[in-house]
């Protein structure tokens, strides 16, 4: 088995997903099965191959260096940005206290 329960607990903590012992116990063999299966990629000699970076050749564009170049994604949309926040306060995203 490529990942045990302790490893899954570590990954879940990196991914910021709280998991119960039961869930970890269930997930560990499932993840191991998937990871064992993808191991077969190791058979392929890729020493002379570059990893893919773009599937269709395309150059990365930059938008014009102007304030509000695009009206939809430009500035002055604070209320829209906050509209779906679970706890917007005073024009900011509210979060639990970070500093004790």
């Amino acid at each position: 088995m490529s990942v045990d329960q302790t490893t899954v607990a570590k990954i879940a903590s990196l991914a910021r997903i709280k998991m119960s012992e039961d869930e970890l116990a269930r997930m560990a063999p499932e993840l191991s099965q998937i990871l064992d299966w993808v191991e077969q990629l190791g058979e392929v000699d890729t020493s002379e191959v570059e990893p893919m970076t773009a599937v269709i050749p395309n150059s990365l564009r930059l938008r014009a260096d102007e304030v509000d170049a695009d009206p939809l994604t430009g500035g002055n949309r604070r209320d829209d940005v906050l509209a779906n926040a679970p706890a917007a306060e005073h024009g900011f995203f509210g979060v639990p206290k970070v500093i004790e």
Binding site: A15, I17, K18, V44, P86, P96, K97
Partner: protein, 499 residues
């Protein structure tokens, strides 16, 4: 007169333009069909008022003698992965339940600009992760198809665009949008006897589409026939400066370019797709497909795509890796669900606890599974062995296709290794579920246009699809080969109404 819900995109658009019926009549007929099809669970929310509003605009334009758009009067379903202004957009997840975008995705806006109207937001696998539409927070979508042996066990409509495929096949939407990351348009289209095309990566803007695996995600149409797909893809596609990987190319006139004359065209048959254990009826449909394309004038040639068997495992590293990164945004701060558990002493959770609790509550099992896989393969010490190796194999898969294009113009293969299966049959076995997309994933990894077209019914009376894969930017070649199959397959079956 034919029932209006029996009509597809082209028939509705042309009928509205000719004055045979009004767009409002069409919208009302489909709204009623949606309202009567609750048993399919194809829609997460219905938006009958939106459909009527769009139809009234089209009728008014026509009355005023204004030019009508290419989708004028056509009521469609919108996969609930596209952000729609003022209408809840969930990606079929709990974490986005109640999220009401303040903006419209580029693709949906393009469709409204072309005169289409929205019947509602279609159910899907949660965050588009799944092949049977069983991972939605809002319940399974049930295929309108049933086995002809009278067995009534509910069947999978495919996934992730399972609401889209079910709605189009059941005639409760004239067409629907889908998205395809590793087969999510083609596999559900094949399962439900309809057409669906994933264009070249970058043809349709990803702006406003909830991200799953950004290097693979592509939107496309799902419709009753090839011509409808050509029309709708034309309306969806186009350069968008708001998507950094959008193709800055003109949109070809795909509808006008449709032709089933394949003389001088070479169709490649990849020998590696003949996998051990493939259903003999799938192989039979493939043989028929070859004959239909030969009848259309094409020459059939054998080709080799040597790295095919590595496509699926490479996909299940790359897609989860990208998903783990994309889904990091769901943190309970900016939108969606927030869980703020208090500890035993009644002290409210800190920021880190809030993240972990929110994501635990908001994501389903399959989404968690993929985030964990992605986090693992990107973590220090494993990145080279897993992620980098998968990206190198992706290069080899794309190279296989490039070499094949020296020998053929389009590739013919089955869309799926089996027909639709009963809901629940593979739900507990992630690997068995992943194998559904074994034929679909290679084209996704190479960013190529690919389409599924219905070929025949199997012994259980369920549809089987054939897949056409084209060169980059050659959607026309794919559509035309699809048209040649459609005209010769004579597939006219549709599910009997039980819902």
């Amino acid at each position: 007169m034919t029932e209006l819900t029996e009509l597809g995109v082209k028939a509705i658009r042309d009928g509205v333009a000719a004055g045979d019926f009004t767009a409002r009549e069409v919208a009302e007929a489909f709204n009623a069909a949606v309202a009567g099809a609750g048993a399919l669970n194809a829609f997460i929310v219905a938006t009958p008022d939106k459909a009527i509003e769009a139809a009234e605009r089209v009728d008014a334009d026509r009355a005023a003698g204004r030019e009508l758009g290419p989708m004028a009067g056509v009521p469609i379903g919108m996969k609930d992965l596209f952000a729609t202004e003022g209408v809840q957009t969930t990606a079929a997840s709990h974490i986005l339940e109640g999220f009401v975008p303040r903006y419209e995705s580029t693709v949906s806006q393009n469709l409204w600009n072309a005169g289409a109207g929205m019947l509602g937001k279609l159910n899907l696998d949660q965050f588009a992760m799944g092949s049977s539409n069983e991972t939605s927070y809002f319940g399974n979508v049930v295929s309108p198809w049933r086995r002809k042996d009278g067995g009534n066990s509910p069947l999978a409509p495919g996934g992730s665009s399972g609401g889209s495929s079910a709605a189009v096949a059941a005639r409760i939407a004239a067409a629907a949008t889908g998205t395809d990351t590793g087969g999510s348009i083609r596999q559900p289209a094949a399962f439900t006897g309809i057409c669906g095309i994933k264009p070249t990566y970058g043809r349709c803007s990803r702006w406003g589409v909830v991200a799953f695996a950004s290097s693979l995600d592509q939107a496309g149409p799902m419709a009753r026939d090839v011509a409808d797909c050509a029309i709708m893809l034309g309306a969806m596609a186009g350069f968008d400066p708001k998507d950094s990987t959008s193709l800055d190319l003109p949109v070809p006139a795909w509808e006008a370019g449709l032709s089933d004359d394949l003389r001088g065209r070479k169709v490649g048959i990849p020998r590696e797709y003949r996998m051990e254990g493939t259903d003999p009826e799938i192989l039979d449909s493939w043989e028929r497909g070859k004959q239909w394309l030969r009848d259309a004038g094409a020459e059939i040639v054998d080709i080799s795509l040597p790295h095919t068997k590595y496509a699926l495992p490479a996909y299940y590293i790359i897609a989860p890796a990208e998903a783990s990164s994309n889904l990091a945004r769901y943190d309970g701060v900016r939108y969606g669900l927030r869980e703020l558990p208090a500890d035993a002493a009644g002290k409210a959770a800190g920021l880190q606890d809030m993240y972990a609790a929110t994501r635990a509550e908001g994501f389903g099992d399959e989404v968690k599974r993929r985030i964990l896989i992605g986090t693992y393969v990107l973590s220090a010490g494993f990145y080279d062995a897993y992620y980098n190796q998968a990206q190198k194999i992706r290069t080899l898969i794309a190279r296989d296709f490039e070499r094949a294009w020296a020998e053929c113009d389009v590739i013919l293969a089955p869309t799926t290794p089996t027909a639709s299966f009963p809901l629940g049959e593979k739900a507990d076995d992630p690997l068995a579920m992943y194998l559904n997309d074994v034929f679909a994933v290679p084209a996704s990894l190479a960013g190529l246009p690919a389409m599924s077209v219905p070929a025949m019914l199997n012994r259980d009376g369920l549809p089987l699809g054939l897949q056409l894969v084209g060169k980059p930017f050659d959607e026309q070649g794919v559509l035309n080969a699809g048209l040649a199959i459609e005209r010769r397959a004579g597939f006219a079956a549709k599910p009997e109404k039980w819902w």
